[in-house]
C-alpha cells in the first residue's frame, strides 16, 4: 500500500486537532457556564451537562482515532459538538433573559463564532458553525418577550453579525495560510523525492563506470593478445559506446543535486540495491 503524501497526512492531523480542541473546550467550558449561572432562577442544569457530555464523548472518539485521523470524522465531530452547544445555549439563554438584573446577551455565541473561525476543520464546516452561532442568537432574540428585549443592551442582537463577519474573516485567513503551508510542504516533498531519485540515478551511473572501465581495458588486452577476435571486439566496442551514451543521458540529473556530507563517499552497492553479499542471479 502506498502511504498518503506528507501534506495530506498533515492536513488530516490539522483538522483532527481543531475538532479535538473544540470538543475539549465544550467539555470543560460548559460546566463552568453552569457554575456561573448558579444564582439564576429556573436555570436548568441538564443542557450544559448534556453539551459537556457530548463534547467529552467526542473527545474520546477522536482520541481513539488519533493515530490515523479521518477528515470526515473530525468534521462530523465538530458539527455534532457545535449542535450540542447550540441546543444548550438556546435553553440557557431563555433563563438568562428572564432573570432579573443585567445580562450581556449571547456572549457564548460570540465566543463560539470566533472559536469556529479558528478551529473549524474546513471552510464549509466553519461557515455552518459561525452561521449556527449567529443565527441561533438572532432567532432566539425574536422569541424573547418585548420586556426582555428592551432590557438588553443597545445594538443587540446585531452585534453578533459583526462577530460573525470577524469570524468568517479569521476562518478565511487561516484556511488560506494552511493551504499555503500545505502547498509549500507538497513542493518540499516533491523536491526531496526528486533529489533522491536523481542521486539514485547518478549512483547507478557512477557504479556502472568502474565495470565499464574494466570491460574497456579487457577489450584492449584481448585485442592485443588475439588479433583474430577483432570483429567480435568491434561489436563489443559498439555495445560499450551505447552504454556510454546512456551514461551521458544521466548527466542531466547532476544539476538537480545538492551534495551533502553523507554523499561524499556513498556506498553505491547499497544505494542502488546491489548487495555484494548476495549471489549474482543466473542470466
Amino acid at each position: 500500500m502506498i502511504p498518503a503524501p506528507p501534506h495530506e497526512i498533515q492536513q488530516s492531523h490539522y483538522r483532527w486537532r481543531g475538532a479535538m480542541i473544540a470538543c475539549a473546550l465544550n467539555a470543560v467550558g460548559m460546566p463552568l457556564d453552569l457554575a456561573m449561572a448558579r444564582g439564576i432562577p429556573n436555570m436548568p442544569a441538564w443542557p450544559p451537562l448534556m453539551s459537556s457530555a457530548v463534547g467529552l464523548v467526542l473527545v474520546i472518539v477522536l482520541f481513539a482515532g488519533r493515530r490515523h485521523p479521518i477528515t470526515r470524522l473530525a468534521t462530523t465531530a465538530f458539527v455534532l459538538n457545535t449542535a450540542a452547544i447550540l441546543v444548550s445555549l438556546w435553553i440557557t439563554s431563555g433563563a438568562y433573559a428572564a432573570a432579573p438584573g443585567a445580562w450581556i446577551p449571547f456572549q457564548a455565541n460570540k465566543l463560539g463564532a470566533l472559536a469556529a473561525g479558528v478551529l473549524a476543520p474546513d471552510l464549509a464546516t466553519g461557515l455552518i458553525a459561525i452561521a449556527g452561532f449567529a443565527g441561533m442568537a438572532m432567532v432566539r432574540y425574536e422569541t424573547f418577550s418585548a420586556a426582555e428585549q428592551q432590557r438588553l443592551p443597545i445594538g443587540e442582537p446585531w452585534v453578533i453579525v459583526i462577530y460573525a463577519i470577524f469570524a468568517i474573516a479569521m476562518l478565511a485567513y487561516r484556511l488560506h495560510s494552511v493551504a499555503l503551508a500545505r502547498r509549500m510542504l507538497h513542493i518540499r516533498t516533491e523536491s526531496i523525492a526528486t533529489q533522491r531519485m536523481a542521486k539514485t540515478f547518478l549512483a547507478m551511473r557512477d557504479f556502472r563506470n568502474t565495470p565499464l572501465q574494466t570491460i574497456e581495458l579487457a577489450i584492449g588486452i584481448a585485442r592485443s593478445r588475439c588479433p583474430d577476435l577483432e570483429p567480435v571486439l568491434d561489436r563489443v566496442d559498439r555495445a560499450l559506446d551505447r552504454l556510454y551514451r546512456l551514461n551521458h543521458a544521466f548527466s542531466v540529473y547532476e544539476s538537480q543535486i545538492a551534495w551533502t556530507e553523507d554523499d561524499v563517499s556513498p556506498d553505491s552497492t547499497f544505494l542502488v540495491g546491489l548487495d555484494p553479499s548476495r549471489p549474482t542471479p543466473p542470466p
Binding site: E216, G220, S265, P266
Partner: protein, 136 residues
C-alpha cells in the same frame, strides 16, 4: 626497486585493478603496482614513491581514506611523478571538485579509452587533459 616508467594504480575494485595491471604489463610493457586502499599504498612504500605516474581512484569506498588522502601521502613522502585521479563520479561531486583544486594533479572520468590511457601513461604528455577525459 621501482623504476620511473612504473605505474602505480590505486582502485578499490579488484577486477579493474587486475585488468589495469595486466593491460599495462601486456600492452604497454611496463611494470604496474596495483593497490586497493591507502593502507596498501603505504605498505608498497618506496615501490610506490618511485613510480613515474600514479593513477588514483578518488572514491575508495565509504568510511575509508579517499584517493585525495593517498595523493597527500604520496606528495608528503616525496613522490615527484605525475598524478592522475580516475573517477566514476560527476564533476560536481565534492571529492571530484576537491581533487580538481589540487593543481598538480589531473582528474579524468571513468571510463577512459585505451587511446586516452596511452596519453596518460606517456610521461612526456603536457599537463591538462583533452575534453574527452573530463569527468561526466
Amino acid at each position: 626497486m621501482a623504476h620511473q616508467s612504473d605505474v602505480l594504480f590505486l582502485d578499490d575494485d579488484e577486477d579493474l585493478r587486475a585488468t589495469f595491471t595486466d593491460l599495462v604489463r601486456t600492452v604497454f610493457e611496463r611494470e604496474c603496482h596495483g593497490c586497493g586502499s591507502e593502507h596498501d599504498l603505504i605498505a608498497l612504500g618506496d615501490r610506490a614513491l618511485h613510480c613515474g605516474v600514479a593513477i588514483l581512484d578518488i572514491n575508495l569506498g565509504p568510511q575509508v581514506p579517499s584517493g585525495i588522502d593517498a595523493y597527500g601521502w604520496l606528495r608528503n613522502h616525496g613522490f615527484h611523478g605525475r598524478i592522475v585521479f580516475l573517477t566514476g563520479h560527476a564533476a560536481s561531486h565534492p571529492l571530484v571538485v576537491e581533487a580538481s583544486r589540487l593543481g598538480d594533479a589531473e582528474v579524468v572520468g571513468k571510463p577512459v579509452s585505451l587511446d586516452a590511457l596511452t596519453s596518460l601513461l606517456d610521461d612526456q604528455a603536457p599537463p591538462g587533459m583533452p575534453a574527452e577525459h573530463a569527468p561526466q
